[in-house]
Subunit: 323 residues, 2 copies
């Protein structure tokens, strides 16, 4: 623990009471001027700390930032988020950063989070609105010892994790738009971008980008009709740090089930959260479009669709439009 | 073209005759001392260039190195090897270098070659003997607009390219040991290591490492009984540059067929070059081993194998042992 982390810990322990600079410098075993220096550093990060020559210091509020120390506090996981969190006030894209970290050997469970992204991306290189200070832009690094075919199911389990997280800590009832989107009342709340680095037999690493609009009050005009946020749906702000902690906890649990038994044990729950079965849809894939009615999602997570000519199609991923 | 490339071109044009320093400096439009400087640079690369105060310069021999200028001379491709060749006297691994180049946006058809590798790797992180000056260690960067499932067939087409190249320029009759090895008389001549970077819908890039023992006269004791080279099989050395040129030409052609029509149009030819059908084999995969008789390779390139209990197995990749 750094001096700053220790200081923050003691300030939090006081639970809104004053604590003297002398007491702090004794407990941390540094000079009073070192305490002062770290108080300034914490203020720069957005912590509201008042000081008084006679009373010492008091922590008034914690910033709504995805700071590693805040996420890791009482984090209920074995290793997700504990092995390492990289926090950016702004970055190009958390997936780009995570890919570089993974290539250098960052361990499974490493989390990259950003307050804002300059090159936030969705699937197929599309832009993903990432300027909102109310959003969460995150990427988890995974290193599953599985075949590449199995890794194609990771977006499905991630959608399950995202929905379970929302159900646990908000009154929202989200649905999964196969394969990668989280919707509420037909509007997009969150999206998943999975990238896989693999040999033919065995996966090297998977990075799972997940973006979600939490406290976004307003969207740019072009996406306003199709986007929503937790704030807009519930009328209340939600602690983004709390969301990330719950997301990591659920992810570790569900990922553990997947690694042990594949997607099978998760399929039933996943199916109840997706609303695509029975719908007439169009799916755009590389170089082709298929239109038809969805029969089911098979046990591989592939969409089974029948076109008007009576041909069956088995589709792993694509852009879905409801007709 | 650099001064050095122009100089080398003119020296080669003379086809073993002397050419004066004055004539060269006039043609290239540089000073005679600049000509001399570039002659020294070429000598450092291994070109044998004699000089005489009265007669000028004569090119006596070209080094047996995989120099970009030598590979690109009369290279019969549209863009493979023409868009860029990165040559290393020694590197960690051409796959590692190619992966970094691909992540930075290197175009399809980029080639990385090395005379020697310090961290040459085979599948699943195994070491690949890469110290022989007689070997070729190469990686091609591909950017196919295909789904990740399709990209799993790229090792198969690469094996086809390698065998066709050997058949075209050597008397060797190699076979493909499914999925990634090139054998001659039961000994390993070459191997393929494919790495894929992909989203769930569409591949970002594929790097195809290919190592082959060309003029290797002797192997370390531990692999001596199982390894061979073109030299050991034929008793003759082979120009490694010629091999790379032929490999690039065949690769571009066969890759073009694959991109247009998938592996189907290549399957018949590929099948005639593999000798696995009918054999009793064991296949080691992640966490399990399957033993049985090979019925066929299906049209996806997967191995269809029946075990002794009468169960059918469909296997995409693994370590094969003949029983």
């Amino acid at each position: 623990m750094t001096t700053k982390d220790l200081l923050l810990g003691y300030l939090k322990q006081e639970n809104g009471n004053w604590v003297s600079g002398e007491a702090l410098s004794t407990r941390i075993d540094v000079t009073r001027s070192a305490v002062w220096k770290q108080v300034c550093a914490l203020r720069d990060e957005g912590y509201k700390i008042e000081s008084s020559p006679r009373k010492g210091y008091i922590l008034k509020s914690v910033p709504d930032l995805l700071l590693p120390g805040e996420i890791q506090q009482n984090l209920k996981t074995e290793f997700f988020g504990k092995v390492g969190i990289y926090h950016f006030a702004e970055t190009d894209s958390t997936n780009i950063q995570a890919k570089a970290l993974a290539a250098e050997g960052a361990p499974e469970g490493t989390l990259v989070v950003a307050e804002s992204q300059s090159r936030g991306k969705g699937r197929k290189g599309r832009k993903w609105f990432s300027r909102s200070l109310g959003g969460i832009y995150s990427t988890i690094i995974l290193r599953p010892k599985i075949a590449p075919n199995e890794a194609l199911k990771i977006p499905l389990l991630t959608a399950l994790v995202a929905v379970k997280t929302l159900l646990a800590i908000t009154p929202i009832k989200p649905t999964i738009k196969w394969p990668n989107d989280i919707l509420v009342n037909g509007r997009k709340l969150g999206g998943i971008l999975t990238e896989i680095s693999t040999e033919v037999d065995e996966v090297d690493f998977v990075i799972v980008g997940f973006g979600i609009n939490i406290n976004t009050a307003e969207f740019p005009d072009d996406i306003k009709p199709i986007a929503t946020s937790v704030l807009l749906e519930t009328g209340r702000t939600l602690s983004r740090t709390l969301f990330v902690k719950e997301y990591l906890k659920n992810y570790e649990e569900i990922y553990g089930i997947f690694i042990k038994g594949g997607f099978d044990p998760l399929m039933n729950e996943w199916r109840t959260l997706t609303n695509i079965v029975g719908h007439m849809i169009a799916v755009d894939m590389i170089g082709k479009r298929v239109t038809g009615q969805v029969e089911k999602i098979d046990k591989e997570g592939a969409l089974i669709l029948w076109d008007e000519q009576g041909n069956q199609h088995r589709i792993y991923s694509g852009d879905v439009t409801y007709l």
